[in-house]
Symmetry: C2
């Protein structure tokens, strides 16, 4: 799917969500959604705030936090905590569920997929009578580059 197509679709999804939840369709909210979907990879609130400030958007951290919560609710973004207080986010539409390798030396985050995780989730859901809605598998260690660097 082309980037434009994706942005049109997520904008529609967001609009439907706002209408359904009797929330206002403010330009700030759409600007934030748009920024997020034009960006590749993981971001945190502060870096997104700086980036939008630099582009002369008039946004506040408060609105970013608020909008990010809305986008989480309608599953247009995902939130991650890779072992630190500061949360990271990433777009999730047209971006299949994946897990993360986190380099404990350079903080780089690499994505990977392994279908067997779904199997584990199915077994655990049955065995523990727990209704699973999402998962996070983070593998911490050293990326290829840092292994070399530290030798």
């Amino acid at each position: 799917m082309s980037e434009n197509k994706i942005i049109n679709t997520v904008t529609e999804i967001f609009t439907d969500f706002l209408v359904k939840n009797k929330q206002r369709k403010t330009p700030e909210r759409y600007a934030i959604l748009n920024e997020i979907y034009h960006f590749e990879g993981h971001f945190d609130i502060e870096s997104m705030y700086i980036k939008m400030k630099n582009k002369n958007y008039r946004v506040s951290r408060a609105t970013l936090y608020n909008t990010v919560d809305l986008l989480l609710e309608c599953h247009l973004i995902r939130k991650h905590q890779f072992g630190k207080a500061q949360a990271q986010y990433e777009k999730s539409y047209s971006n299949k569920q994946h897990d993360h390798l986190v380099c404990t030396s350079c903080d780089k985050v690499i994505e990977f997929c392994d279908p067997r995780i779904q199997g584990i989730m199915n077994v655990i859901e049955q065995a523990m009578e727990f209704k699973i809605s999402r998962h996070a598998l983070n593998l911490y260690g050293l990326c290829k580059e840092c292994q070399k660097k530290l030798n």
Copy 2:
């Protein structure tokens, strides 16, 4: 292994670690280790601080954070971030590696083990040339009790 035996062993491990790293063997550090190993389940710094204050230990948050870092370094405790800023910790000696079900309604944390995760880690380590040192698999959803409550 009995609790006393475990506490003797971890105290020894901690002492060795402190000596090896030329760190002082202070009563505060041992008091904290002792508190942690007398406690079942997950704790955060603040609740451990309150608990120790109530027992009339003379400890500060700073020392708790400092000591927890030392205990992490010698692998006597593990640190978790279950999707919030506040970190949680648990003792890890004589406590086999496990993963967590986190109830998004009541914040309860349930442990589970699935040996297949090791298999996934082995495959990914090879495929991605990433040296994995630890992992965290968190399954988020509703526990049995909250499923009932919310119906």
